[in-house]
Symmetry: C2
Subunit: 200 residues, 2 copies
Amino acid sequence: MADTGARTRRRGKALLDAIYAAAVEEAAAAGPGRLTMDAIAKRAATARTTLYRRWSDPLDLLLEALAELHPVEQPDPGAHDLRGDLIASLRLMTDWSSSAAGRAVMAIVADPARDPAVVEALFERVFARRGGTFTQTVLRHYAEHGRLDPDRLTPVVLDIGEALVTKRMIDTGTAPDDAYLAAIVDQAILPAVGPETETR
Amino acid sequence: MADTGARTRRRGKALLDAIYAAAVEEAAAAGPGRLTMDAIAKRAATARTTLYRRWSDPLDLLLEALAELHPVEQPDPGAHDLRGDLIASLRLMTDWSSSAAGRAVMAIVADPARDPAVVEALFERVFARRGGTFTQTVLRHYAEHGRLDPDRLTPVVLDIGEALVTKRMIDTGTAPDDAYLAAIVDQAILPAVGPETETR
DNA sequence: AATGTTAGCTACATTCATGTATCTTACTTT
DNA sequence: AAAGTAAGATACATGAATGTAGCTAACATT
């Protein structure tokens, strides 16, 4: 009975990466409520026992997977086109939200049975390296360069763009197009942050 | 062996109401992914067979339960205090979102494994009788009375309040307090809808 | 080359939810 | 009062996921 299916045997990073990817994809597809060791193992083409040797829980595995995935791309604002930089930062956000990792995170935080400690750990691990939310990075950048009034950058104002994108994705189930992102910037964010200071 | 537990036997509306309540509570507690006939039956203190006589599916049951529950309360704006009416409408929203029905709906729409047809049916059944979203009702009312510029009430602007409340609830897991609702109105909605027209 | 580690596989008992079938009996209708 | 309806209870076969155990062979370390 010589030839079993597996030609090579993965180890270390190669194996872990496959498991991480499988966990995130499975969470994005099924939601954390339906996440099982079984399904992750099947998707990663490995044995369930391999998973149990490292993690006790599907959620435990998923959190580690999200932490190990590539960090979220950060907006890189210039200082000459506030409107364009804001739209670009929202586009970064929709790109990430549409990814498996983004949908997995959304599923976790929207889960009514979520553990607050889990959500906190998630925010720390996934967003720790980032300077804040997407539009926040841009707005703070312009405020530091004297182009926006820092007093108007309240927590509410810094959340407007992300909130509208999130709601739109919840309502329609898909990422908004460029026209909608532009509308968010023109009709909601820019009126809230006030007039741009003249460059001297 | 006379005395079995059940003293009376529920029928018709009394039974259905108990089942509906159990389904919504169970969905709010566990999320639609973990919703089972078993758990609903236990919570409603009835037999699983009773559920299967009427519904084939936990989700089928839940949708009917949500449709049969009391409709969402509607904001009743005056025309003299835009700021106060907006805050009150957002308070209505947080009250509903905090209820079992609200959390159940949130769990359904945020479910990555959601069926678009289910979401559509849900919106039709639950929001059909309502004139729109919470702040939308207020803003439209003021526009009709000539106090706001109708051209500024775009889909994006009408969504600002609900979007910020939703994001806040996702982030913190609890309903925002009055100060935060006031901040949303003052710092995001009012700047976006523009100056109020003078009363003649 | 010998040794240690562990991925991959199989097997098993357990638990939980499913869907169906059957029976009794409380309640309703006629 | 008799007949019909359906709630409530029990039982059962099925399937999925769990967590554990044991084996073998591929790969790494010495």
